[in-house]
């Protein structure tokens, strides 16, 4: 009977109910999208790093997992590393930001092909001239590029030579010397990849290199890709917590407003229930259950919306941001939404529970 009363109350004010569910849904979507984009983008970076085919990664001192130092390494290192009989090939790249999440990667195509097995061209082909670039399928789709098209990046006009299958190192590639010159880094590299004859030697070699090259960020690829998670990216976890906090506050305010107006509007009904012998706990239980129903439906809506935002990212910015669906966070986000909503129901519920029956019955 109590559940029936709760549902009838929610049906009685459909617009308020829908708006509350929508607001909680947006709250849940915010959380799921942020977590999904964080994980998706990191996992995509890891996937592309693995696609290089290297066993060891060397980055300059001061680099972080996602960003590179402004003090790059000399390209003479490549010859130095290739002197080691365990190394099949060493390949270096220069990475330069294109704004936002996009980067341009300068590569030595010959070395890169030896290391990774080469690009699979979906259209066009390799570099023909110094101003040629290769783009991966997602960047091509996002920027609507085809072989032969020109695009201006870093105040420089480029010609698209080919569109390649995604999954290797970056999304936009040019020839290494061109990018070195454009960024005033002639003879320098942002990172170096080593491919070994026997990948089982990777850890031992990393340990040796760390001793020889103190301060340099040297990882096995397995170690590097496992570090590409939310906890290891500076401030990302804190950022997620802050957004979750904001989402909880939004849910709290919406539910507070909805329940507060509901309590005011139903003052007489609360008086009626009390005249029938309803205890303060009974009155509180009605609002708590209403809030719970709103939060659950809001959570379901938020989960559905997160598929919508994933689709939106795929359509609008397929190369810049990748959103994953993270089912384990469905439960967390629902719990967060329920908690925020319950906090919002505390004061209205308390006000309703302690409502004086006589005053409530005389409320017009």
């Amino acid at each position: 009977m109590l559940n029936k009363l709760v549902l009838e109350n929610l049906k009685h004010r459909p617009v308020r109910t829908l708006l509350s569910v929508l607001a909680i849904g947006v709250e849940v979507t915010m959380i799921l999208t942020l977590v999904g984009v964080s994980q998706g983008t990191l996992h995509e970076s890891a996937r592309r790093a693995k696609g290089v085919g290297a066993d060891i990664l060397i980055r300059p001192p001061g680099s972080s997992i996602l960003s590179l130092s402004s003090a790059p390494m000399q390209d003479k290192f490549l010859a130095f590393f290739e002197q080691d009989p365990r190394v099949v090939v060493a390949s270096g790249s220069v990475v330069n930001s294109l704004g936002g999440f996009d980067t341009m990667t300068g590569i030595d195509l010959q070395r890169f092909t030896r290391m990774s097995g080469g690009f699979r061209y979906l259209a066009g082909g390799p570099f023909q001239s110094p101003d040629d670039i290769l783009v991966d399928e997602y960047y091509a789709r996002q920027k609507k590029l085809r072989p032969g098209d020109t695009i201006e990046l870093m105040n420089h006009k480029w010609r698209v030579a080919g569109v390649v299958e995604s999954g290797k190192l970056g999304r936009v590639f040019c020839q290494l010397p061109v990018l070195q010159e454009l960024t005033s880094n002639t003879g320098k590299l942002s990172q170096i990849y080593l491919k070994l004859k026997d990948e089982r030697q990777a850890q031992k070699m990393v340990d040796e290199l760390r001793q020889k090259m103190p301060g340099y960020q040297i990882y096995t690829m397995e170690e590097f890709t496992s570090m590409l998670n939310v906890s290891n990216v500076g401030m990302l976890r804190e950022f997620i917590y802050i957004v979750i906090g904001i989402a909880v506050v939004v849910g709290f305010i919406v539910v507070f407003m909805a329940m507060y107006t509901a309590v005011l509007e139903r003052t007489r009904e609360i008086g009626i229930l009390k005249a029938l012998g309803a205890s303060p706990g009974f009155v509180l239980a009605i609002l708590v259950r209403e809030t719970f129903v709103l939060a659950i439906f809001g959570s379901i809506l938020g989960i559905l919306f997160s598929f919508g935002t994933k689709w939106l990212f795929t359509v609008a910015v397929p190369s810049s941001l990748v959103q994953e669906i993270v089912p384990v966070w469905w439960g967390y986000s629902a719990l967060i939404a329920v908690a925020g909503a319950m906090l919002g129901a505390v004061y209205p519920g308390w006000k309703a529970a302690r409502q004086d029956a006589i005053e409530a019955l005389s409320y017009e």
Binding site: M1, L5, E8, H12, G271, L273, L276, G277, A357, I358
Partner: protein
């Protein structure tokens, strides 16, 4: 009539506080009601009728005096005991019907049983009462689809569904036309005569008051005429 009165009120006083000002609503009420009695309480506005009802119904505690309902001392009751009293001993009928607008007539009656923790359907006799009230065929409708008279009859059904010892009716015909007023008053009298329901009814209308066995007049917080 049984020998033990169902309501015994002695020197009942109730003082409300408006800021720092004390407002006496009842100034020493003495009243005895026998089981099965139908009593009308009449008096001008502000005479204390509603306050007396609210105290007898356990909606507000008295300030002093003694009030015994079915032998239980109201003055000694705390909030939760008065809540329990409203579930089991007293039924209310209000001038404005006071049905829950989101529920059907049947659910308005059912929720009173639910609150009183009486699971399941009412006893078969209650269906006869619904027939007698003339609302058995209107139970699936929500209050907005019912006439004022029908709503008040649903409110009466809700008030007696838990078989309260006392039915308190506060101006039950105040919002009704003459025809519906007559129907409701006859029903109250039938409930009293057929089921032995003790009824206390507040009214301004002398014709309505005449349906009761006894009329009590109140003025300035006191009973002035039995």
């Amino acid at each position: 009539m049984n020998s033990a009165p169902i309501i015994e009120v002695h020197d009942l006083r109730k003082i409300y506080h408006a800021g720092e000002v004390e407002v006496p609503a009842l100034r020493g009420v003495n009243l005895t009601v026998e089981k099965g009695e139908f009593l009308s309480i009449v008096g001008p506005s502000g005479s204390g009728k509603s306050t007396l009802f609210h105290i007898l119904g356990g909606l507000t505690p008295p300030t002093s005096g003694s009030v015994h309902l079915c032998g239980r001392d109201l003055l000694a009751m705390n909030d939760s005991e008065r809540t329990e009293l409203r579930k089991t001993t007293v039924g209310f009928v209000f001038q404005k019907y006071n049905l829950l607008p989101t529920l059907t007539a049947a659910d308005n009656i059912a929720i009173a049983r639910y609150i009183a923790k009486r699971d399941g359907e009412p006893d078969p006799k209650f269906h006869e009462i619904l027939e007698m009230l003339g609302i058995a065929h209107r139970l699936r409708h929500k209050p907005r689809a019912l006439s004022g008279g029908e709503q008040q009859r649903v409110a009466i059904a809700r008030a007696i569904v838990n078989h309260p010892a006392i039915l308190l009716a506060d101006e039950p015909t105040g919002n009704l036309d003459t025809e519906n007023s007559e129907i409701v008053l006859k029903l109250l009298r039938d409930l009293n005569e057929r089921l032995g329901q003790t009824i206390l009814m507040i009214t301004h209308n002398p014709e309505a008051a005449a349906y009761a066995h006894r009329i009590v007049r109140m003025r300035d917080g006191r009973i002035v005429d039995h």
